[in-house]
Symmetry: D2
Subunit: 318 residues, 4 copies
């Protein structure tokens, strides 16, 4: 759960507000969308520097799966989402039979909405040790999978990327799958949007700017990141409420009126003191979650673990 306001590429790129036809025309960006059983799939590929600058993300593939019915515990939606995630993972992983996979559950297991990664990892099928200890029980289709939940800086005193670098150097996996809980800008994404990216996890600015990325540059191995929003910043909710009121005021007043100008004057910089006053003394650490977040994290972690097991072994064994 990073401190930035959004961890979702689809939000960062603001692909919704932009006209999709315009986005498709950008040199260095391809966008494909699909819809299966009410589940929307958006695949953005950024192929050159121009695309990087236009979208504001590193070159690579970003797949977003939006499945709002998961929230209602709709069994068909859950099965279909897991299936789509498995298929997309297979595409983006393109493993061969001998590939070793290291799964990494990021986040703090003591903080409910941040425990998604460790919970997914606890439901993964782990096989790497069997090759050494009981090779006679391994059939030729079994892949070598290992998995860790490294904890977070405040618990270990060690950068997560350092821990993973150390383990990677010992295990020498062919690919890393990192699972993380994200912050979103929109409450309706909580537990219903899944993002896959093959560019790893690049730490944000601010406090994180000394941090090493969980990516190929640092680890020497491709990193596939799977993320699910589990919270929205409380500041985001306050900001959205203010923004919406301003929009409404502007709609209701003449374009050049003093009122309209006053509304305009509450730009992000001038909104911040208001938000701060509403949330004092917490601001940064206040999060918005569904009341039932404990149960939601449980449910979503099973969907993701099933999909990873399926992608790696062609089965859902937990």
């Amino acid at each position: 759960m990073k401190n930035c306001r959004t961890d979702l590429a689809i939000e960062a790129a603001d692909l919704y507000n932009k006209n999709p036809d315009e986005v498709k025309k950008i040199d260095g960006v391809t966008v494909e969308t699909d819809e299966i059983k009410g589940i929307k799939i958006t695949h953005v590929e950024i192929t050159n520097k121009n695309g990087e600058e236009a979208i504001g993300k590193k070159q690579g593939n970003y797949i977003t799966i939006e499945s709002p019915k998961i929230r209602d515990n709709d069994e068909d939606a859950i099965a279909a989402t897991s299936q789509i995630l498995a298929d997309k993972l297979r595409e983006i992983l393109h493993l061969n039979k001998k590939s070793t996979v290291l799964a990494v559950g990021l986040g703090n297991w003591n903080v409910t909405p941040d425990a998604l990664g460790p919970k997914v990892v606890s439901n993964l099928k782990v096989t790497r040790h069997l090759f050494e200890y009981v090779p006679e029980h391994i059939d030729e289709n079994t892949r070598s999978v290992c998995a860790v939940s490294p904890g977070v800086l405040g618990i270990t005193g060690i950068e997560t990327s350092e821990i993973i670098k150390g383990i990677t150097d010992m295990v020498k996996p062919d690919v890393i799958i990192a699972i993380d809980a994200l912050a979103s800008r929109k409450t309706n994404r909580i537990s219903t949007t899944i993002q896959i990216a093959d560019t790893g996890i690049t730490p944000g600015s601010g406090i994180g700017n000394k941090r090493k990325g969980l990516d190929k540059d640092y680890l020497g191995v491709p990193v596939i990141a799977i993320g699910v929003p589990t919270v929205v910043d409380a500041a985001t909710v306050a900001n959205d409420a203010i923004e919406l009121l301003i929009e409404n005021i502007k709609m209701l007043s003449d374009k050049n009126s003093a009122m309209n100008k006053l509304a305009d004057s509450f730009d992000i910089e001038h909104r911040y003191p208001l938000i701060k006053e509403v949330l004092t003394p917490y601001v940064g650490d206040l999060i918005v979650t569904p009341k039932e977040v404990d149960g939601i994290i449980e449910e979503v972690s099973l969907i993701i673990a099933d999909a990873i097991n399926d992608a790696l072994f062609g089965s859902k064994a937990g």
Copy 2:
């Protein structure tokens, strides 16, 4: 964790916005305030019908302990708060040596911010069974204490007050202490304000209006309620942000201007659609909590359990 916007008498009565000197003049209301080591104690007593109507609460005693330094894990503040709570409990309980006490931990143990009551109860010293099974090990100063965590309606299918009524009829306690997590209107109250009331817990309106109260009327035994805010409704945060912006707009515009009137037009009824849009599709169930709510609940439940053990036994044994 009830669905109403605030469970705190001090907020309901809006004692802060009213001039304390004026409140003191109301017939049927007495207010005493005290401050010990930076901890503010407000004791409101409502003594007649007129007071009930003026404040909007049942006749009885309402004690609020505000201890903001708890949040910083300040050990002195924690010890002092626990001590004050123990003292106030002793005052309001006025037990004799033979009194039997039933402690009730309200709330849902599967929902972190609602688990306060069950967690407190799990740290209480329980002695009632010793009187029957090992009377030789009971000294004359030991009080008979028993404790239950009845769960919530959605888990049991039974009204909490019915469960407690059934147990009360069997156990015949002299007083009930009920511990509950509350919703507050202000984020700065989360985990730092403790409310004691000797009027029990009266269910709110709306869905709860068929519900029987956890109070002397229904149970036949006085009910001392201890509550701590652990969440703020997300809708409250959105509403507060809008309200603050409106106030700012009004301050910045002429009193009789169109702008001022427009701002005025966003009264609570007209704000609601905006709030709903910001929080869609969640509205009612979205809560705002500190990110570290798991640890905070743990900490506060120990403070309260220590205070209750102290009030009942004169010791802090868990």
Copy 3:
């Protein structure tokens, strides 16, 4: 988890050591056995005083389901066991459409092998409150089910049967289903044997002899008990080892030799000091469990919850 050495009727009656043909001839006892997919089902019915004395149990039905493959996580065995348990429950419950059921999860949720009952209850479908609050969402086939986990005497200070009596008087169910973890005499029964009895739970001797039973006599409602062994007393293991050695010595020596007599002299009374020495200073509280007991309890509680949901609603919804 009671302190007596065995809670299983099938062990108490020692039906295995007796010749089944002889048991069947006892007046007041009927025995039926069945085997489905490797799962053994024994149905003992005791119909009169003579049967009670011969078997040492109250008049009523005792059904034992032995499913050793559950231990290996065999999915077919798990599904078949759950199905058989659901069928047997339907037979023994003979509910009509309007019957209200109260499920009771006995045991201490803080002690892993004793947490079976509460874990089962947490996976049951609960509907009783829906009849009052959302009657429009209830179809005619929905049964009214409610459920509690009352805790244990050491946690609450209240006899479990008193708590259940109080709740029963309020809720007025037509039948109670009580789920409990048992102690067995044989390690191979741990988590693989399920016992159903329609005689409720009668507390043992010793410390429990003042206790009121969880049965129709005290509660006024039939009580169906479901039990699963999760531990063996450590003293039982020590005793079994000694017994086996004595048997071996006797086999290896002449029937009338001094050796044979010496071996005979280590009857249960003379074995006890040896057992005590081996287990000092624990004796009564030392238990034997599989190392993976946490996972086993999780698994078995799902099997039982599925079966109860199936028996009550004709579905497995959790």
Copy 4:
């Protein structure tokens, strides 16, 4: 929790059965004993090859703290034990102010009696990250401490020693403190004996014989191991019962009688089939623990965490 029958040096060396005066005479072994407030401290140092062979352990220091009153929750005993452990750790660690310490919580957090290590680590004060992020808040007496709980082979698919090797290579600590739950031969040692060794943790024989040790040879850094017995093998209990019976039979019969010889014939090899029959079908995985093991692990992990925090920071902050 390793699979061998005992992890305690004091038991391996069988120092109790040997005459202490004789042990002290062995070349290459020194034994010092002390007793403080009823807590027995035994310090065995093995200084050369001859000592290694005589005792059957690697050269190094082995300190055993035996504190039986911990079991009764005696607060004085708990405080004194924690103090002694802190003092002995300081002696054996001999850190300077600039030393960085890596604490490692060994064991499986999903298996209650094996969760001791991770639980200790979760209560340690961690500071290493503060040096980089908030150096202004670090005073000169603060030591750099980091901590991980690597999980177990069956969960991660990676040898624990490999994970620690990888992290050690990144973090470059001056010393590692590894905390582990042990198996003991005697039930009375459960949760009351603490062992410190400066030789690390050397994996046993059998399945572990391919494993790399958690020691200076492999990691390049001294490893201080802290271990507490939390279980006894069920096979050990069965064996002890048989052994005791044989002793009794021999005492009761003439030295050269057939009976005495028969008893002798049940040596360890001939006892094994009996033990196997008693414990079938479990044998290796059945453990003996106090029924309240969940609470005991909680309690002991706090004692050890307090002692480590005290040894590293001169304070007990959690």
